[in-house]
Symmetry: C2
């Protein structure tokens, strides 16, 4: 039955994982808000009462489940005519089930479990209630409206994929679909809201705010005024990040803000090197937690240029964050003396000392981390920020106990070329224009930790690795096209269109990428939570690869070689 007079409410709220009181109050406030609106239904997100991603926390805190049942019973008592759909965890014969409680007139009327979608009748209208990916199994139309409580992260191509699925499903079943998403950050997860209704033709009739709480009141049968154009997923790598930058910015800022708010943290301290990574982190932090809560510290070493120091200070002034300079030369020298003495003693027992090592470079990065963690240990509610980016994480080009250490890694799912684009976007779109000095964006990235023996100047990351444009296209192809080494070797990169490189050069870079990626796995396992923003990430909450798998032969071998090796066995 279609009834254009009826109304439903979509309560897109931002919950705190495990904080039942906070979440329950938010739910009750929304129920009270619509008390006189004569709604059929008010719908809350999946696991609204407990928060999502509680995962196995329940093993350590079984009380959450018992408590959430007490809370849902008490919330039920205040309901009147309007039915509320509230995500919670049900307990059936000591099993915990992701569920939705259907409550009205002072009590729980029914409980729907995940993987067992059911229809309910409210004022003559049949609603099908689904949780998470339950909607995937809907094959025929047997309800007037489909409700999909589904938590989806803000990530590249998410909107495209979601629209294709929901729009096609609504059209196929000729049934409107209410898609209700979470909003808010949860460690590395940043949910973008944007709950919406797809009408029976598959067009979007109404859409909630993104990256904000919202309470949308509407009729579920209303037809869209415009046809929904389903955008295409990008099929090839491109340096034109513009269409994705606002979303990227909001995803990161929300992720940072909620990490601080939900853990009760307030302040951040980070090293400001005058380079791109720490610069973008500082801008995001200032916007997420307020400039007064951010302390940037320039820690020049012997290779730090005057330009870097100046850029760091100008940035801090432009952002209004606190800033000071603390040279680390003396710390590095003392450590170096201590180590040189030690190394000679170790060398008496062990061979294989590197003739050229990264030891000195890393001591600088680690001394800086000692300073930053000192500040976060000394001042209340303060954490250190890990400033590693995604390109360098893939290459293991970050220092353990150095720049990759901290409470959260805000940009560890943003590649370098995207960071450059984001820096330009920030300069153009933030209220204070051009906060980032142009020279930060123009200079070639490098940690100023070592001298390039070829040029006598400080080593640039691209010279040690490969051009970022090339590297980021490898990452993009692995994550989005599932391509292997040979497929990449045999198809043209964007970088090749603009630069004349030999097949040998390309092979060398690809080999270097795969070799470095293999040895970077162990760094990924101890990277702090990275806010997920791309379609795939190396955040350990969604990607795990055994460190012992570093011997994968990324090139493969021919059947003839295989035969030979089998004979030898």
């Amino acid at each position: 039955m279609e009834d254009l007079t009826r109304k439903v409410g979509l309560a897109q709220i931002n919950t705190i994982c495990g904080n039942l009181e906070y979440n329950a109050k938010k739910i009750v406030q929304n129920i009270k808000k619509v008390e006189t609106d004569n709604l059929d239904l008010i719908i809350f997100p999946e696991l609204a009462l407990t928060g999502v991603n509680l995962d196995n926390a329940i093993c350590r805190h079984p009380i959450i489940v018992d408590e959430n049942i007490k809370w849902i019973n008490e919330i039920a008592k205040i309901t009147q005519k309007t039915t509320a759909l509230i995500g919670f965890i049900d307990k059936v014969e000591s099993k915990y089930i992701n569920s939705i409680a259907i409550i009205s007139n002072g009590k729980i009327q029914k409980i729907i479990h995940k993987s067992q979608p059911e229809n309910i009748q409210i004022n003559g209208i049949t609603y099908k209630i689904t949780i998470g990916d339950d909607y995937c199994n809907l094959l025929q139309a047997d309800s007037d409206v489909i409700i999909s409580c589904n938590s989806t992260l803000s990530r590249t191509y998410k909107e495209q994929k979601l629209q294709t699925i929901y729009s096609n499903l609504a059209k196929k079943l000729s049934t409107p679909i209410i898609y209700l998403n979470q909003v808010g950050g949860n460690d590395g997860y940043s949910y973008d809201g944007g709950s919406k209704i797809y009408d029976k033709n598959g067009n979007i009739s109404i859409c909630a705010k993104t990256f904000e709480e919202d309470l949308l009141i509407t009729n579920p049968f209303e037809l869209a005024k415009n046809k929904t154009i389903i955008p295409q997923v990008q099929t090839a790598f491109s340096l034109d990040y513009e269409p994705d930058l606002e979303r990227t910015y909001k995803t990161l800022v929300q992720g940072i803000r909620d990490y601080f708010q939900k853990t009760g943290l307030q302040r951040a301290v980070l090293g400001l090197s005058g380079g791109l990574d720490s610069t973008v982190c500082a801008v995001l932090l200032a916007d997420a937690i307020g400039a007064d809560n951010v302390f940037g510290i320039s820690m020049p070493s012997k290779l730090t240029s005057q330009e870097s120091k100046t850029d760091a200070e100008i940035l801090a002034n432009n952002l209004g964050i606190h800033f000071t300079e603390t040279p680390i030369k003396e710390m590095v020298n003392t450590t170096d003396n201590c180590l040189q003495n030690l190394f000679s003693k170790v060398e008496e027992k062990w061979d294989c000392r590197y003739s050229q090592s990264y030891t000195m470079d890393n001591i600088q990065a680690r001394s800086r981390a000692v300073i930053l963690f000192g500040v976060s240990n000394e001042f209340a509610s303060c954490i250190t920020i890990a400033t590693s980016d995604k390109s360098e994480s893939y290459m293991g080009y970050a220092t353990i106990n150095g720049d990759m250490s901290g409470g959260i890694a805000p940009i560890a799912d943003v590649t370098k070329t995207k960071l450059f684009a984001l820096a330009r976007w920030l300069n153009k779109n933030r209220e204070v224009k051009n906060a980032i000095p142009e020279s930060v964006i123009l200079k070639r990235p490098g940690a100023e930790l070592a001298i390039d023996p070829n040029t006598g100047k400080t080593l640039c990351a691209e010279d040690a690795l490969m051009p970022y444009e090339f590297m980021d296209e490898i990452i993009w192809r692995i994550e989005n096209k599932n391509e292997n080494y040979h497929q990449m070797l045999n198809s043209e990169f964007v970088y090749e269109k603009n630069n004349n490189i030999s097949k040998e050069q390309k092979t060398e870079w690809l080999d270097k990428f795969y070799r470095r990626m293999s040895f970077a796995i162990y760094k990924w396992s101890i990277l702090p939570p990275a806010i997920i923003v791309d379609s795939h990430s190396i955040n350990k909450c969604e990607y795990t690869q055994p460190i012992t798998s570093s011997q994968i032969n990324y090139k493969g071998i021919s059947p003839e070689e295989i035969q030979r090796k089998i004979c030898e066995a």
Copy 2:
């Protein structure tokens, strides 16, 4: 049909995750070994060709699947009459499926997929092939033999649980079960082998070696000579760890050994404080990778006692590992000067500087890590070892970028009281007796980082936290009994039997435990791989809890309080 003349082979091999060539050669060697033995079957573990726990590595390395299909086809060509069952990854319409290839007479005869167990006929005998937990769904006997290729870790109570399940199933279906396990370490996972056959009465007729590769040739219908006594899972906490210590030792040594071998690493460097944690780590390392590959460094600071320095040196001599001493006083002083100057500048902008902080304590721990990582950066194939134990990890009583940093955390799943028992066991059972100085076992643990204001002596961990016996029982009850705060408060602890403590004291300790555990979550997320040994661990590959969930109310509240809070909302 039962046929007591037929024979099968159980090839319990140790594979390297992702290294197809290595694994394939091992498979082929075993196939060749039994060529003339006239077996019906030779059975390899689940995913024998690719290694287990490849997880989503395949997203980054899709070539593994294509290559493993090439390999399985080539391996098939060398087979003769004896059928081989080989775990591999099948690809069906671009989906990857955990599968077993049944090969003989030069070709693949059939492929069995996970969740779709099937019967095969070999020389008149019907074998049911199951993968992983498929056996759970077997309800009736419709084969002569059940084969269960199932990877299970070495962990407390595993044997008990496994025997109950398999023994009962074999008896219920009156069908023998061949249980084939992995052996070997894989990051935090340590598989113990011990493949076995349960006869149709549920008794164990034969058992392969544990923690070693093995090739067992036997008749599947043979009846056990003895009845299997199913041991009971421990129902209460006990300080008597004796029955579990040999297994614990072997699990850890195998985990360390294979981490090094499979990553190509060779050497380990660790700080030797003279305390229990680093001492036990040093023994395990010496046994796993050889004493010559271990370097212990004593890094005394101003609070380090002469006894600690002596204990470290004696231990090193007893183990035959390399040893040297490097005082860190100068590093700590330089850092301290640098920081005091910085703190005064930060204080001009920020309030909430702690009057008593852990900053100085942590600088000592972090300076030591800078030294250790310096050595592992300077010498080839060397890593630093994280020496944190499980009790302290639960309490967040370990320093980020300090003692909890390294490539692997060997004892981060072993509680302190169990470590004491393990130390005594090592002194008694290793070839070189009493390698661990008695004073290490007798002294109360403490990191010698701070002075206890109450005693004027160096702070002991138990005084800062609570008695380890009490703490470890909380951990045990959470992990094994799923108990909550109130259940613990209201039942007697072992510690209470031997010590007279007030209810207030117990409440204080329990509250401290839960509060500290909440704030320790973020440390768990960056702890290096911990070798799993207990029935539950906080290794991030199996336990994840959002850092933003630190506000869980571990005590819960009454329905009346809930009502009041809902009214206020």
